[in-house]
């Protein structure tokens, strides 16, 4: 390629930084460049074009005042002096809109954020192809580098005793949830289902194991009142939308040079179509993974419906068709979590997550029993079964500790989390610890976060790291309860929590949208973009910085570790895990935890 002679001129009183950046790129590519100083009148710039025999002219304008006038004057003069037809003429800068540049007869206009490559392509008459390689994200196993070795032998031993007791207790017990999971596991084949094969055996057994609402669905065709089936036209439109969008998709990362944390956000508008819309937006703005949220009644209902269904309230109904469609809409590198954790369908959700090849599920017996309304005995039987299925399908599961949001102190919630973690390890699973990262009720009540929102969250991570070498995934979502309806505050708060998580080197975070604290309507797509952008900015700002824990954070971390051991000792001495849940050892009524009633008296002996 023959080098061009390029004259660069700021047509602006002062601003020339952008133009200098562009010039450096052109010089490096071997072109001859001449840079004029700012504040020259158009006459002088044109004279220089003639004097220097430039074949390409690049102007830059930053100030937004009088732009059209000065540029029009430049173009008129260049025309009059016969310069216009001899040179290639481009203009860029903050004040430039492509529409205006075209109107005034420039060959091209470049606005804010132009890359050197774009300018170079213009100069060299090439088509500009945006940077490739952003198309594929590779899935990573965030549990891979962990040994799960205990660093606190006292806690390790207590967990051994407690989990031994739990496994012995559940051995001869089952529940409708466990039986449904088995039917789904053994009688329902995903490949046959995809091929529209009949599920006769399954349908013979399944409705009988369901609650009234779901049984009526199968036997009488009665739908849940807030749900409806999609029409054929709607489905065709969705398929078209997804395939068209996929063609245009690129999947940037938010981490810049960081390796972690991975960033997850949640979807669950109620409608799988809207979810798909939101998922594509999240992926396009940098989310590494997405999490399926089901309706709150899903946890209280025995059994799943079937079909491709939309729901008008918060939470997207779990059915094979809904999961299948959502899975198909994902980019290949997007991680996918289906939460099983908290209700009467926990084990069956783990089975479906496995059959639809999700990347994670979510299980916590204590949170399900104390914060989410499920009977402790039932939750224990079902939780163990769910963990077994997660292990069988090689699905890592996070152990969310949102009972903290009810007011349960961190150390009690963590004791419960460690019990589920230890069960996971005994059953061959890959648990991930999920401490809550936020301004929690415990610290509000105790007044511990008057000075900063950092120390107590840091203390949690330090304590857990000393206890066990396991992956950490703060959530869920980070900044929960710290958000307000204000999108600026919500986004900033999310970014601070995410940056803190990054500086602590954790593996992943779950973030909310900036609509998290708005309860007047469904979460909107732009609000997802808000927090993803904010988090990216946070990661950019702090880069590879590590956080040096304060003396206060260290002190709290020791306290938490000590208190966890105390709680576990009490559970162990109680000799009965379910009894311990009822007694409030892992979170009491005074704390704000209430043993759930859904599924009470449904545990059966075998």
């Amino acid at each position: 390629m023959t080098p061009r002679t390029i004259l660069l001129a700021p047509i602006d009183p002062v601003h020339d930084v952008g133009l200098k950046m562009i010039r450096r790129g052109l010089k490096e590519a071997g072109h001859n460049t001449i840079l004029l100083p700012p504040d020259l009148p158009p006459e002088e710039i044109i004279q220089e074009i003639i004097n220097k025999r430039a074949d390409t002219v690049l102007l830059s304008r930053t100030l937004g005042y009088g732009v059209a006038e000065i540029l029009a004057r430049f173009v008129d003069l260049a025309d009059a002096l016969g310069v216009r037809e001899r040179v290639k003429l481009g203009i860029g800068g903050m004040a430039i809109r492509p529409e205006l540049a075209a109107e005034l007869g420039f060959d091209a206009g470049f606005g804010p954020g132009t890359t050197v490559e774009e300018a170079l392509a213009f100069v060299e008459d090439r088509e500009y192809v945006p940077e490739q390689g952003k198309r594929d994200k590779q899935k990573r196993d965030l549990t891979a580098s962990y040994t799960y070795a205990y660093g606190n032998s006292v806690i390790a031993e207590l967990l051994g005793q407690i989990t031994g007791g739990i496994l012995a207790w559940v051995q001869n017990k089952t529940s409708p949830g466990v039986l449904r999971a088995r039917a789904r596991e053994e009688l329902w084949d995903v490949r046959r289902w995809r091929g529209y094969g009949k599920m006769t055996e399954f349908l013979k057994e399944y409705p009988g194991l369901c609650g009234e609402m779901t049984r009526n669905f199968y036997l009488k065709g009665i739908m849940h009142p807030k749900t409806r089936r999609f029409t054929r036209e709607e489905v065709a439109a969705l398929e078209n939308y997804v395939s068209k969008t996929k063609e245009r998709m690129t999947v940037p990362g938010l981490q810049h040079s960081l390796k972690k944390p991975m960033v997850f956000n949640q979807y669950g508008t109620g409608c799988p179509f809207m979810d798909t819309g939101h998922i594509k937006v999240s992926e396009a703005w940098g989310a590494d993974g997405v999490i399926h949220f089901d309706p709150s009644w899903g946890a209280r209902t025995e059994g799943f419906m079937d079909g491709f269904l939309t729901h008008q309230e918060d939470g997207t109904v779990i059915t094979p068709a809904n999961l299948n469609r959502i899975k198909q809409s994902l980019e290949p590198g997007t991680l996918w979590q289906i939460r099983a954790h908290r209700g009467l369908n926990t084990p069956e959700t783990a089975v479906l997550a496995g059959k639809f090849q999700a990347d994670f599920t979510k299980i916590n017996i204590c949170y399900g029993a104390l914060g989410a309304g499920t009977d402790p005995a039932r939750m224990t039987v079902d939780g163990v079964a769910a963990i077994k299925y997660a292990a069988k399908y090689g699905l890592p599961f996070d152990i969310v500790t949102n009972e903290e949001l009810c007011g349960v102190p961190a150390h009690k919630a963590f004791a419960g989390m460690l019990i589920s973690c230890a069960l996971g390890l005994r059953l061959g699973g890959k648990p991930v610890l999920q401490p809550l990262f936020c301004y929690s009720p415990e610290v509000m009540v105790e007044g511990w976060m008057k000075d900063n929102y950092v120390d107590f969250n840091v203390a949690k991570v330090l304590a857990l790291r000393r206890i066990i070498d396991a992956p950490l995934w703060p959530g869920a979502p980070i900044g929960f309860l710290t958000h307000t309806e204000d999108r600026i505050q919500s986004s900033a708060s999310t970014a601070y929590h995410a940056s803190l998580a990054a500086m602590l080197g954790v593996d992943a975070v779950t973030i909310a949208s900036s609509d998290e604290a708005y309860s007047g309507g469904p979460i909107s797509a732009p609000s997802k973009v808000d927090t993803l952008r904010a988090v990216g900015e946070g990661f950019r700002f702090f880069g590879n910085m590590k956080l040096e824990p304060s003396p206060q954070a260290l002190e709290w971390s020791w306290q938490i570790e000590e208190d966890i051991a105390k709680v576990l000792r009490q559970v162990s001495e109680r000799g009965d895990f379910v009894g311990a849940l009822y007694d409030g050892i892992l979170g009491s009524r005074e704390d704000g935890a209430y043993p759930g009633r859904n599924g009470k008296d449904t545990v059966m002996n075998v």
């Binding site: 809207m274 819309g277 309806e485 708005y518 007047g520 309507g521 469904p522 909107s524």
Partner: protein
């Protein structure tokens, strides 16, 4: 030609600053402004009053979950990229 609003994925937010004497007045004016623009399904997401007036973000949902989404069947809008 279809309505451009059909392309709005879910809600449309307007953020602005309205000169008024109280939060109540700010709320009233904001909702009235939405009605005048033809939006009936409007709500205030965030509002903060200080002496000069309110900083407000209000939202009208164009598509709520479970609706028939215009953006799934949107035909070309005049001047569209083909």
């Amino acid at each position: 030609m279809s309505r451009i609003l059909d392309r709005v994925m879910d809600g449309m937010d307007i953020e602005t600053f309205i000169i008024c004497v109280s939060e109540d007045e700010g709320r009233r004016l904001t909702l009235q402004m939405f009605r005048e623009m033809g939006f009936t399904d409007a709500d205030i997401v965030f509002i903060q009053f200080q002496g000069p007036g309110v900083r407000v973000r209000a939202r009208a949902y164009v598509h709520r979950p479970g609706d028939n989404y215009g953006w799934l069947k949107a035909g070309p809008v005049e001047g569209d990229v083909k």
